[in-house]
């Protein structure tokens, strides 16, 4: 049997996902035994034109990480879609927008203004902004277009599978690769490399009835390692986050931030978090309720940390 042709690509992401492939450890040898890497910008020197030159559908598997932020990201997403038999949105950014997706609380102008004007370290009296085309004596320079909105991979092209995680854990990644290498493919469109329950299922802490009188931020306290963090007033998104990560953060006394995305039956992770928190806050008078809610400084940042482009509203409404 011929080796499977495998490509990896990063779009708007931190690069962690590309590296995370190595988390499969020694299994990497089994992987390369069955697979031929045709593109991996982080590890190997291939050029875009190499991909462009490949026949359509000639790549067996593309693990695409990162969100779609620029025209380049979009171009590459479409390119890999065309060239690949199986396209996997790998990691939270490709799957649900990820941390870059939080930029959807503003738009291009908002970002440029901040980056090129108002940051304290910026001195830009001429108000120079990046252009897609710039004439220089040597000719014309080009930059990809920066979009207003961060999109998920699936909002741009058709995606076969989704692997959540920031980054996906090595164990889960191997399960996915193994399934693909063994041609043991699940139903198209599935979220793979993750469970069907929530992080609470993997969380070893004891849980009780929850009545929250106050929220505290995790760096201000040393939480009891055996008791549900939420019950201690620390906002933990585990209850509304798909399991599969092994509750790693929680095991080191840090709250879940929700990177595995919503559990299977939940459409909007943030809305569900609102609904659940609203049920367990222990107050009935509006003033008291608001006093407690004031302790959550940035609801979107907490509730949609990894999934703003994937949420029902997808982004902030810019007037």
């Amino acid at each position: 049997m011929a080796k499977l042709k495998v490509a990896l690509y990063w779009a708007a992401s931190c690069g962690g996902c590309e590296i995370s492939i190595l988390d499969i450890g020694a299994k990497i040898l089994d992987f390369v035994a069955g697979a031929e890497i045709v593109f991996w910008p982080c590890a190997m020197d291939f050029k875009y034109h190499h991909v462009e030159a490949m026949p359509d559908g000639s790549i067996d598997l593309t693990l695409f990480n990162g969100a779609i932020r620029t025209s380049e990201n979009e171009y590459m997403a479409k390119l890999f879609r065309r060239k690949s038999k199986v396209l996997v949105a790998y990691g939270s950014c490709a799957y649900e927008g990820g941390i870059p997706g939080l930029a959807n609380v503003t738009d291009r102008e908002g970002i440029f203004k901040r980056v090129y004007d108002t940051t304290p370290s910026t001195k830009n009296p001429k108000g120079i902004r990046p252009q897609t085309k710039t004439k220089v004596p040597e000719g014309e320079l080009r930059l990809p277009e920066f979009y207003d909105t961060v999109k998920t991979l699936a909002q741009t092209v058709d995606v076969d599978y989704f692997v959540p995680g920031c980054p996906p854990t090595g164990e889960r990644t191997w399960e996915v690769l193994e399934a693909i290498l063994g041609n043991n493919l699940p139903e198209k469109g599935s979220v793979v490399g993750a469970g069907q329950k929530t992080v609470c299922d993997e969380c070893p802490r004891t849980k009780n009835e929850k009545k929250i009188k106050a929220f505290v931020r995790p760096h201000l306290v040393i939480p009891d390692p055996d008791v549900c963090l939420l019950e201690q007033g620390i906002f933990c998104a585990g209850f509304a986050t798909r399991d599969g990560c092994g509750a790693q953060c929680i095991q080191v006394n840090m709250p879940c931030r929700g990177c595995y995305g919503p559990p299977p039956k939940v459409i909007d992770q943030g809305a569900k978090i609102v609904s659940a928190l609203g049920s367990i806050i222990d107050a009935e008078e509006p003033e008291e309720i608001n006093r407690i809610l004031d302790q959550i400084p940035n609801p979107i940042g907490y509730f949609y940390r990894f999934g703003l482009p994937y949420s029902i509203l997808r982004r902030r409404v810019i007037k």
């Binding site: 609380v105 809305a271 569900k272 609203g278 107050a283 609801p299 509203l313 409404v317």
Partner: protein, 150 residues
Amino acid sequence: MFEPKIVCFLCKWCTYAGADLAGTSRLEYAPNGVNIRIMCSSRVDPEHILWAFDRGADGVFVGGCHPGDCHYQDGNYKTLRRIELFQRVLKQFGLENGRLRLEWVSAAEGRKFAQLMDEFTEQIRALGPIKLGSRKGGQDGGSTKKEETS
């Protein structure tokens, strides 16, 4: 004139009964809201509200029993807390808080229900049609209509 689309989630015991009373009392009011009957306002999940906005609702109305009068003891307090928190989220989303309204209407307040429907319709009319990005996560964030995915 812009005719807002409004979804109303009404608890069966108070607000839905109040809406019935408005009918029995033949109080005419704005026809923009369509009612969905649920057992208690605490059945309303913010997800439903987002879903409605995304599907083109210009306004969402949630009606429950007055505080202390909940048929299910304290369901309306859960609703109150959820909506208070959710309003904060919506504000960050750039949606006017006026598009989501939580009101307490008892079974005896048919007149109040009719007035609220008129008032809320006017309120939404003043805010104008909802503007959301395309459902494919579109670039503009400003176009009114959305294309369908899937």
